[in-house]
């Protein structure tokens, strides 16, 4: 295929974000109130309602929302597709476990270290691909994901055994990191994860609203736009990749201390592909999309399992979702649902005003 250097048309995975017709930021106070209410519910209202199985499920969802957030930023903001996000979470878990057995660093430090090491590895993976097109970046991440998965399958997660890999056969299949003292119970740990997730979302929002976000918007518009605005595209693409990898690493660190610990079986190859699907469906343009993605990835399967519905149907649904999003609904559900709700609201409003006029 010819690479036309004169092309200035956008080449992102999903078309540019749908722009609100009024062109200004939407009602801020209302949104903030809704978000605050949701967070309050998650922190205080939800835990008492759940049994230990469901507590595990929603904790997993909170953690995976960070992984989805990183991928969503990459795809939606910069137009880069990575197929190794889930594997990087596994790397994060590995690093956190290794450090927890080797040192006595406090929990937050362990998780941060996991984040930074994973960010470094992610940057290494993305670095060579920057000279190649977006398709090759996706493929190199796929290859890296496969390679890392195989290595992980062979060495397994550290469980306190000796040697660099830290795994001993006597230790058992899954390993678990000790939790921070203020989050020992499952419910407390869930709250801890939600708080960390909120911090990640704030980190993402900070990036999007400031210089990096503007630079990414230029890159996504086209390489030529970015270069002619003076943007160092290599730097900002790497930054995005490092940020997404950092989030995956932090998520992995948190996974290491979740109930049941981590085992290699938790990170199969298909999950990276499925994550891509749910992130696309959730909507890569809005940060809310990551929440929707986490719901689709972790909560919906558990619900279906409870109701006796086969989860394979979900896989089929995700496949259809990918095709649909790429063809018609670039903003995904996070964009579509508010629009549909707004439309519904307007229709209801019209019904009422018609009634008034008739009266």
């Amino acid at each position: 295929m010819t690479t036309d250097i004169h092309t200035v048309a956008a080449d992102e995975v999903v078309p540019a974000a749908p722009v609100a017709p009024a062109g200004t930021a939407r009602a801020r106070p209302l949104r903030l109130a809704i978000v605050a209410g949701l967070i309050a519910f998650l922190l205080f209202g939800l835990p008492p309602l759940l049994d230990s199985y469901w507590m595990l499920v929603v904790t997993g969802a909170a953690i995976y929302s960070m992984v989805a957030l990183g991928l969503g930023l990459l795809i939606g903001r910069v137009g880069m597709v990575s197929l190794c996000q889930v594997v990087l979470a596994a790397v994060g878990a590995w690093v956190a476990l290794r450090l927890s057995y080797a040192t006595s660093l406090p929990f937050p430090v362990l998780v941060l270290c996991a984040g930074f090491v994973t960010a470094a590895i992610g940057t290494l993976i993305g670095l060579p691909a920057l000279r190649l097109s977006g398709l090759y970046l996706a493929l190199i991440t796929l290859m890296a994901a496969g390679a890392i998965t195989i290595v992980l399958r062979a060495v397994l997660f550290p469980n306190g055994g000796g040697g660099f890999f830290g795994n001993s056969a006597a230790g058992g299949a899954s390993s678990r990191m000790p939790r921070p003292s203020l989050a020992q119970t499952d419910a407390a740990y869930f709250r801890y994860c939600v708080v960390v997730a909120i911090l990640m979302f704030l980190l993402a929002a900070w990036h999007v609203r400031r210089k990096p976000g503007r630079a990414w918007a230029a890159i996504r518009h086209s390489q030529a736009t970015a270069i002619s605005a003076g943007v160092n595209t290599v730097l900002y693409k790497l930054w995005a990749f490092a940020l997404a990898s950092f989030m995956a690493g932090v998520a992995g660190g948190l996974l290491a201390a979740s109930a049941g610990g981590v085992s290699v079986q938790q990170f199969p190859v298909e999950t990276s592909v499925t994550l891509l699907a749910v992130v696309l469906m959730g909507g890569v343009y809005s940060l809310w999309g990551a929440v929707v993605a986490a719901f689709l990835l972790r909560i919906l399967p558990a619900l279906l399992d409870d109701w006796g519905v086969s989860t394979e149907l979900l896989t089929i649904l995700f496949g259809i979702g990918v095709l649909q999003v790429l063809m018609t609904a670039p903003g995904g559900l996070a964009d579509q649902v508010p629009k549909d709700l707004a439309k519904l609201g307007r229709r209801i409003g019209r019904v009422f005003s018609r009634r008034e006029a008739a009266a």
């Binding site: 398709l135 796929l142 890296a144 062979a154 390489q223 190859v269 499925t274 149907l313 496949g319 095709l323």
Partner: protein
Amino acid sequence: MPGLDDLKPFLVLGLALGGVFAMNGVGLVVLYRATGVLNLAYGAIATTGALISWSLLGGVNQWIAYAACVAFGGAVTLAYGLVFGPPFAARDPLVKATATIGLLLILLGVMLWVWPPSTTRTYILPTRLHYYEIADVRVNWTQILGMIFPVVVTAGTAVFLRVTKVGTAMRALADDREITAMLGVPVRRVEAAAWLGSGIVCGISGVLLGDLVGLDIVGVTFLIIPALAAALIGRLHSLWVTLAAGFVIGIVQSCLTAFTRVHIGARPLADYRTITPFVLAIVALLFFARRRPLVRT
């Protein structure tokens, strides 16, 4: 370190398996060159077809069962190309490849639903029952087919692309779709031919894989990886390099099975053998990145 005698059986299996990787790689490259679509659902299509054959065996004549796999490969690939080719035609190759992930997930879900992984399924191609003894190694006809088919397919495709009208049209399409269309070439029909051809190759590989490695759904679906690695080494362009790369990947990966006494960490080298395609592909990609200036678009 294993000696040549220890390696020989793995060499044969590696050639056969590598042949299937190579064949799939060539199928991927031809489709990519003609349509810009890197069909990541390739492995899933092959596996679904093989499972269909497995289900039909016992009920119908075995040749019909195997033909069904080939027909399925061709039909599904063609159907996808006809429905989802045009809407994505003008978009970036990355988008096109991502769309095929949708197909991959649909097929994966269908397979896991219709053929739950709780039982192991295998079939034995009639060709496995005939074998030769070459240099103390038993080589059966399935494996020989795995070695010969790719070469035939590659040579045939190369000739086809160069000599026939449709083939030349495909090469023109790869270069510039719009100009080709303006020249009066029936673009949609040529693309359909590329989809169909690619799908039939996929179906054939499905039949062979079912015999060579068995029908582990997830495993075979992601057997696209070695094929992809081979295609990448061929820079998504050269058929012969892809063919050679496929064989090399198969041989290296298979021969590593014999390295049970060389260890990395606590595990024998053999446990790491499936890393072969990934490592080779990464090395190839790094090599290509080195020679290119920063791509502008």
